[in-house]
């Protein structure tokens, strides 16, 4: 069961227990009992809606349950067979709790489980993409070929390439946590970028503000953006491609990362689109960020904005 599912079940349990105590303590006719019951439901709603990020479906359901209990009380009274108001209110409140419990079991928990599974799947896909980027046969073999080519003409560059490739391979073998700091992400990207610079006529610029280096971001979130800017942007520039990577804090809570290239701009759907789709999905499921691709003047910009944990 997911953490949210447990929280929902617990909240329902606590609300039910409070109402049971209230029934025993005050009896059903006591107006204080009704007030207590209503207050309990209100707390229930606040807690649950906070847990579920103010999900409208849950608030609506709670409101309906509350309205139902009040309406039943008045309806009962007006039909001439008045049930004690407190009893009716309690029936309504128990209904509400029951409905919330059922909602949690039938809707929220399966949904949460599906989201968790989807996140897991995407995490695996991202891991695979990362691994492929490091040791993708094409990338590896082409880089080895470049090293062979440079040994005579530019031995220092050849040594640098070997070191960068070695670092990437080592990184691929190390732990694969879901998040790491922006500083770690940028360090990885710089090695990847150096290999690209040595192989092609592409230049990278880095503008990463120190203030955001500690921010935790999903691992390899920016890699597909850089790969896309290389493949479909900078490499299409005849006279040398340029890519710049910016990262800064916008206010205290928002991290903005921009990968910009001077290529001829986005074209028809292509395999790079898969990488960008992955970024969008990871951010959406994490629930704390957005991604967009825009064209301004002769530059293409991939922009990721995400909440920086305090």
């Amino acid at each position: 069961m997911s953490r949210r599912g447990v929280a929902i079940a617990l909240a329902c349990g606590v609300a039910g227990a409070l109402q049971a105590i209230h029934s025993l303590a005050y009896g059903s006719l006591d107006p204080r009992g009704v007030a207590f019951g209503i207050a309990t439901t209100a707390i229930e709603l606040v807690v649950l809606s906070a847990i579920y990020d103010r999900r409208r479906s849950l608030v609506a359901l709670g409101t309906v349950a509350l309205a139902l209990s009040v309406a039943t009380a008045f309806a009962g009274a007006s039909l001439g067979k008045p049930l004690p108001v407190g009893v009716v209110a309690q029936i309504g409140l128990y209904d509400g709790v029951l409905a919330l419990g059922l909602w949690a079991l039938a809707v929220a928990m399966p949904e949460a489980r599906a989201r968790a599974a989807e996140l897991e799947r995407l995490h695996t896909a991202a891991e695979l993409a990362t691994l492929r980027a490091h040791v993708q046969p094409h990338f590896l073999l082409n880089t080895l070929n470049t090293i062979a080519a440079l040994t005579a003409e530019a031995p220092d560059d050849a040594r640098e390439l070997i070191a960068a490739l070695g670092d990437l391979l080592r990184d691929a073998l190390e732990d694969q946590r879901e998040t790491h700091t922006l500083a770690a992400e940028v360090a990885w990207l710089r090695r990847y970028a150096r290999i690209i610079e040595l192989r092609h006529r592409v230049q990278f610029r880095w503008d990463v503000s120190e203030a955001c280096e500690h921010v935790q971001i999903p691992r390899m979130l920016l890699q597909p953006l850089v790969e896309n800017a290389v493949k479909h942007g900078a490499l299409r520039c005849r006279d040398g491609g340029e890519i710049s990577v910016h990262a800064q804090l916008d206010g205290a809570r928002k991290l903005r990362c921009i990968v910009e290239d001077n290529g001829p701009g986005p074209q028809a759907p292509r395999d790079g689109a898969l990488g960008l789709e992955l970024v969008t999905r990871r951010l959406a499921l994490g629930g704390h960020g957005t991604f967009r691709l825009e064209r301004t003047g002769d530059r293409t910009r991939s922009i990721v904005e995400l909440e920086a944990a305090p």
């Binding site: 094409h138 590896l140 073999l141 062979a148 080519a149 092609h200 006529r201 493949k231 490499l235």
Partner: protein, 241 residues
């Protein structure tokens, strides 16, 4: 008779490397080396090479190399690539061989043997090999006797000639390998066509050549004596020191 080859490879280092390996076999004359499928089409139409060595995945494209082979125009094609993922396509298109990366002299030699078996005698009797250069998006073909000098520029080179200055998608080392005999390396960054040297100025520590119509070429200190020697060979009038 040497095979006239065109090399199509988007990575500058890999392109130079393949040109050097092909030249080293002594069986091939490099007719051109370009970076994009677009340039390759133009060069094939202009040169009509015996064999084209083409990278499948050219910069920016997905499988531009395959499309280039499909368009035809040359007698034989060799796919130079890291991974034979398009093997079926390629053999259906009649590609002679795969040249796997990383390249080695041995692989290149084996590959050329297969090309030889397929293209027994070059289609065109060896016409003088021309230099393929670029001005922006247009390709320019120069005869070697038009060329004054090659200058290293941002990993690749540019060529100074009577018709102007153009970019060349090869390094000086690869150019030297292709046109070795006619050109002299006078500086780390300069190859000069001896036939167009007009003046040798200065002494050994800051010698300079005037080449063609006013191109000034520095001569490296350690090469100055040899360059002077070479220029004075087959001349009369200046006493050798």
């Amino acid at each position: 008779m040497k095979l006239r080859a065109l090399v199509v490879e988007d990575e500058w280092a890999a392109r130079n490397y393949l040109v050097e390996l092909l030249e080293a076999t002594g069986a091939v004359a490099i007719a051109g080396a370009v970076a994009t499928a677009e340039d390759a089409r133009e060069a094939i139409a202009a040169i009509g090479p015996d064999v084209v060595f083409v990278d499948i995945q050219l910069a920016g494209g997905e499988a531009d190399g395959i499309a280039l082979v499909r368009d035809g125009g040359a007698a034989a094609y060799v796919l130079a690539t890291a991974h034979p993922q398009h093997a079926l396509d390629a053999y259906q298109l009649g590609v002679v061989d795969y040249l796997m990366k990383p390249f080695t002299a041995e692989r290149v030699a084996q590959c050329l043997a297969r090309v030889r078996a397929r293209v027994p005698s070059p289609a065109v009797p060896s016409a003088p090999v021309r230099v393929v250069a670029r001005r922006k998006r247009a390709l320019v073909f120069l005869r070697l006797d038009e060329v004054w000098a090659f200058e290293a520029a941002d990993r690749l080179a540019c060529v100074h000639a009577s018709r102007g200055t153009f970019d060349v998608d090869l390094s000086l080392t690869a150019i030297e390998a292709s046109f070795g005999a006619a050109l002299v390396r006078v500086h780390r960054n300069w190859l000069v066509n001896v036939a167009h040297v007009l003046e040798l100025e200065g002494n050994a520590s800051d010698a300079e050549l005037l080449v063609g119509d006013g191109v000034r070429v520095p001569v490296a200190r350690e090469r100055a004596a040899a360059v002077r020697e070479l220029l004075l060979a087959n001349t009369a009038g200046v006493r050798k020191r």
